[in-house]
């Protein structure tokens, strides 16, 4: 089984647009949406939920005031200033480390299970999709990414799928890192803006840091040809193959507005994405 993850560094370069089209083009695969705090792939793939279950994040501390002697040791020991002066736990600051639980001399602290989001396994016209929704303002996005990927892998094994295509989050932090463990290929979607180029370099550094093989795709490549050339040069210097250059096409925006994978609309852009997928498959096959 192979797994490919789509990252970008900068948000809004077209990760989900491309993932949605790869969902149409690739056969015998499981799709996974790992942009768990702002998941969008389901808006294109129109999933019907097969099963859905709660995702438990780190537990939260709770102080039982009947047992509490008000020694305030927990307040002093909490590194996250999560226990407020009235000995009430501020749940949004509590990281679930349980230092208060372990240090309380009168065992007045309990660690309570905390539902931080939901995980869904769904069917789409293009095969199964694993996706999730992290509760607003929650931490543990990396942990949820790991849970989504674990489900996708289990499903792929169960249903004998050869491939997992993962739509990743923007950035290079916790959820992006959680997308990288054990992947076969990272497809970085960039665009010809100085900001996207800056962010591309940091994602490529991240892929290197974790020993992952990366390829790049330049979206809206004709918007600013001079920067596209700079990105091509950068990729050449770093031996990162550019597997596709997609022209700006208003059809892409139209398709997104209709909630449809752009490749289904046909036209030159669809052709270019199909060529991109062929190229990615070739590289994936060699690895």
């Amino acid at each position: 089984m192979r797994e490919i993850v789509i990252l970008s560094g900068k948000g809004g370069t077209g990760k989900t647009t491309i993932s949605g089209s790869l969902a149409v083009l690739a056969s015998n695969k499981v799709m996974a949406d790992c942009d768990v705090d702002a998941a969008n792939l389901h808006l294109l793939l129109k999933p019907v939920t097969r099963s859905s279950f709660p995702f438990y994040g780190m537990p939260k501390a709770r102080i039982n005031r009947e047992k509490c002697l008000e020694c305030y040791l927990c307040v002093f020991r909490c590194a996250f200033e999560a226990i407020e002066p009235g000995l009430v736990v501020n749940e949004s600051r509590c990281e679930g480390c349980a230092v208060c639980y372990h240090t309380c001399p009168c065992k007045a602290v309990e660690m309570v299970e905390h539902v931080a989001g939901r995980l869904h396994i769904s069917d789409t016209a293009y095969g199964p999709l694993v996706h999730a929704r992290l509760g607003a303002g929650e931490d543990n996005s990396g942990k949820l990414v790991t849970a989504v990927r674990r489900e996708a892998r289990r499903l792929a094994e169960e249903e004998k799928k050869e491939l997992i295509i993962t739509d990743g989050p923007p950035g290079i932090g916790c959820p992006a890192i959680s997308c990288l463990a054990g992947v076969d290929l990272v497809l970085v979607v960039t665009e010809p803006t100085l900001a996207a180029k800056h962010d591309l370099e940091r994602v490529l550094d991240l892929a290197d840091h974790f020993g992952c093989h990366a390829v790049a795709c330049i979206n809206k490549c004709d918007l600013e040809p001079a920067i596209t050339q700079e990105i091509e040069r950068l990729c050449r210097q770093r031996s990162v193959p550019v597997v596709g250059e997609l022209p700006y096409d208003e059809k892409a925006m139209e398709a997104t507005k209709k909630g449809q994978p752009v490749v289904e609309l046909g036209g030159p852009l669809a052709g270019q994405i199909t060529a991109l997928w062929r190229e990615v498959k070739k590289i994936l096959g060699k690895r």
Binding site: S8, G9, K10, G11, G12, T13, T16, V36, D37, A38, N40, L43, M58, R77, A79, F80, S92, E95, G96, C97, A98, V99, H102, T103, L134, A136, G137, E138, D139, N140, S141, G142, P169, P170, G171, I172, G173, C174, P175, A176, I177, E191, P192, T193, L194, A195, H198, D199, R202, D205, L206, H209, F210, L223, E224, I227, M253, T256, K257, G259
Partner: protein, 286 residues
Amino acid sequence: MIVAVASGKGGTGKTTVSTSLALVAAEKGKVCFLDCDVEEPNAHIILKPRLSGQEAVRVRVPVIEQERCTLCGRCADVCAFHALVVLPQEVMVFSPMCHGCGGCWHLCPAGAIHPGWREIGQMEEGECGKIRFVHGRLKVGEAMSPPLIRAVKQRAQAGALNIVDAPPGTSCPVVAAVEGADFCLLVTEPTPFGLHDLELAWEMVSQLGIPCGVVVNRSDGRDEPVEEFCRTRNLPLLMRLPLDRDVARGYARGIPPIAVHPAWKGHFRELLHAISERAGLKCAKS
């Protein structure tokens, strides 16, 4: 006063809006720009600050004194983040997993663990014209951005308009960036993606009890779903920027929209005015 600019979805125009707002506000008053998208900071590309200072931002991490360690395994048992592994000969620390809670050094029965430091990124500061500029750069491979975001925010200046450029998403880094703001602008685009993530961002900001307003970027005049959303949530739609190829090309090369179309300055002045009225505080008069 602190104004945060957030979005949920990435690439909707947070940095475009926050930098233009800073440039316009700086014509009249004191402005401090805090780029809190420390995973992928981009505001410097537009504001081009002259950076004069750099500071490492560090978090706590355990240091094991192997000669005192009895390999009892208590540290690994209490570590909720699986950052410690007890091997037959030594205890290993996986620093990127560590949250710096101190469980291991507080609870080690042999007193063999003490807190040390680990660098998670750099904070850089400087000036661009009259704007004070600060941003953070998370070290590549480092998972935890909130401590760096909080460090950047500590540079907020009293008596100035502090503009926080938040990271995309709705989880803990965004909370760290937006927390404590007097007002939050939510930048969206008229697509189902933009609207879906606007709703998530609004939920997060409302939970924090921060008043907010919406900016529609790349509007093609058909923004009914966003308008409807704002109406039902009683959210003010404060500004609409049209889809404009020249602005997009300017942004690509690091040129702010108000330099491409000086007439757009008026939009941002009005936005500033609307924000200061709604935040209920005095800020740079526009």
